[in-house]
């Protein structure tokens, strides 16, 4: 469509204002994380008058962030591998062999996208399986929450891989496991990357499940530690900002490098059936 220079200038201005509104809170976190306690008390947009890098070391010390950081890495990585792998296995078979039973199972699983968890009876399940307040327990829980959407995303991708490839592999003597691992997984790499990245982000940002199921602070992920840290140091916005910055930094870095996968996954998941 044709637009004149004035309209284009107006459109760019609106887009830039929208971007600024999205960036300002992040900018606030960054500049205030370097300020002194006094200068940061108003959380202003002014630049730091002097750089207090020791805010970060203070936060890491006081907030026990090293432990939490490794917990978060462990939870997000392990649950993503587990969840994506199981979702891929299920989606592969459910999509390739569309028997009546498999169709029912597929709908049953993706129903979970809408199903809310019942945290009370889930506590019982966690107690019975001895998973409550354990690292393994939270990994398994995260993986379980990733299954429905993962199956949905991967299922829609399996259909786009020609069946003839499977048939050729089977004729060459591939068993089901070899077919899945050697033929399917490499071909499904793009959708596995998307599912994996979305799962990882979801697990890294998760706050509710640890709040319910992790009492022992040695098991806390970053989100819970930051929340707890805020409770103790809410007057020191420089420290709180440094703390938040350390939590969002990995996510932002991941976003910068994997934007393509994230955006494609979200739009295929939502726009395409």
């Amino acid at each position: 469509m044709k637009t004149n220079p004035f309209q284009r200038f107006g459109a760019h201005s609106i887009a830039i204002i929208a971007c600024l509104i999205m960036i300002i809170p992040i900018y606030l976190i960054v500049v205030n994380s370097f300020k002194s306690s006094v200068q940061s008390s108003s959380m202003g947009v002014d630049l730091p008058t002097e750089f207090h890098l020791e805010n970060f070391t203070a936060v890491i010390d006081k907030g026990k962030l090293v432990q939490s950081f490794f917990n978060s890495v462990l939870y997000a990585t392990a649950s993503t591998i587990l969840g994506t792998f199981f979702a891929a296995m299920a989606a592969f078979v459910l999509s390739r062999h569309r028997s009546r039973l498999n169709q029912v199972v597929y709908f049953f699983i993706i129903m979970g996208i809408a199903l809310p968890m019942n945290y009370f009876t889930l506590t019982k399940v966690m107690q019975i399986t001895h998973l409550i307040d354990t690292k393994l327990g939270i990994i398994i829980l995260y993986a379980a929450t990733q299954i429905p959407f993962g199956v949905f995303l991967i299922y829609s991708f399996v259909g786009s891989i020609p069946r003839e490839i499977d048939e050729a592999a089977i004729i060459d003597g591939c068993g089901p496991v070899a077919l899945f691992v050697q033929i399917f997984l490499p071909l499904a790499a793009p959708v596995l990357a998307t599912t994996g990245i979305l799962s990882f982000l979801g697990a890294w940002n998760e706050f509710l499940l640890p709040l319910y199921y992790l009492n022992n602070s040695a098991n806390w992920p970053m989100t819970l530690s930051v929340y707890n840290f805020f409770g103790q140091y809410q007057a020191s916005w420089n420290l709180v900002s440094a703390d938040i910055l350390l939590t969002i930094l990995p996510v932002v870095v991941l976003y910068i490098f994997t934007q393509r996968f994230i955006l494609s996954g979200l739009t295929t998941g939502a726009v395409k059936g």
């Binding site: 299920a90 945290y119 379980a144 982000l201 932002v252």
Partner: protein
């Protein structure tokens, strides 16, 4: 070819077991427990019939108010995110030629941030005395707009809706933009030949063809809105008083106070609402796909 041998059932087991054990069994047994007085103070669990539901739906308690808040939050965020998201998507799709990817990436950025961090920082921005928003309003002479965003009972829920829109509008915009890009350019060219104005093109071409995508984002917003927890819990804790309490924060409160039976009944109410919505979700996800 024998499908069953090459695509064996046991491949589904891992996903199915995790899903059934941690989702379905708690959900189903939760319905049973919602008819009991299960709590953390005694080990006895007694059948109490519909007592918990009577408490929830009685006009004397606050629970109906929490359900109302959940519905208000859900509808308000749907409206704001869809209208703003569509506006931004149209802007990026039609009016702006360059830097589209940069704009899109920046507007989407808040969607991937942990809600916890977002809520903490907005707690400071919306601070009545020193918060950036009020400082900004005062600096341009609009002192009347400098409100007690999160502490004023009339504004608190709206402020939460506002912060949630800030975080979520980019996600909705990205999906709507993908939908817009599927509309063939020829339709607009034909309309232009016929002398259609921008408004006519929006009303007679864009909106009708965008309906499937708009329905999808609405569903996504409903699923998110009904379950919302993080943003409310960290921003206001359901306060001041209980004016911003929603179903999920109320459920967590029951959990921490040990009233499991009542909390499970609340979860069951949420469950039933979601099952109702979920039915339509599945119908939608499997309806005519919109081409990429």
């Amino acid at each position: 070819m024998k499908l069953r041998t090459h695509y064996p059932y046991y491949f589904v087991l891992g996903a199915l077991v995790l899903y059934v054990v941690f989702y379905v069994i708690p959900a189903i047994s939760g319905i049973a427990y919602s008819f009991t007085d299960w709590n953390s103070f005694t080990t006895d669990v007694n059948f109490v019939g519909l007592d918990n539901f009577a408490t929830i739906f009685s006009s004397s308690g606050n629970y109906l108010h929490y359900i109302g808040n959940t519905l208000v939050f859900t509808s308000a965020t749907i409206l704001l995110k869809t209208v703003l998201g569509l506006g931004l998507a149209l802007l990026l799709n039609e009016a702006v030629k360059r830097f589209v990817n940069v704009y899109r990436a920046l507007i989407f950025l808040p969607a991937i941030l942990p809600t916890l961090g977002v809520a903490l920082i907005f707690g400071s921005i919306l601070n009545p005395a020193e918060g950036l928003l009020n400082v900004f309003f005062r600096s341009i002479g609009l002192d009347v707009l400098a409100k007690g965003w999160l502490v004023d009972p009339h504004l608190a829920l709206l402020s939460v809706v506002g912060v949630d829109t800030w975080k979520g509008v980019g996600y909705i915009m990205v999906i709507l933009l993908a939908g817009l890009q599927t509309i063939p350019k020829e339709y607009y060219e034909a309309a232009e030949v016929d002398g259609a104005l921008a408004r006519a093109k929006l009303v007679y071409i864009t909106l009708p063809l965008m309906m499937p995508t708009i329905i999808v984002v609405t569903v996504l917003n409903v699923l998110y809105g009904l379950r919302v927890f993080d943003i409310v819990y960290v921003l206001t804790h359901g306060g001041p008083g209980y004016v911003t309490e929603v179903l999920s924060t109320a459920i967590f409160r029951e959990f921490s106070q040990g009233r499991y039976g009542l909390g499970t009944a609340l979860s069951t109410v949420l469950f039933l609402i979601m099952i109702f919505v979920g039915y339509f979700v599945i119908r939608l996800l499997n309806s005519e796909p919109v081409e990429q």
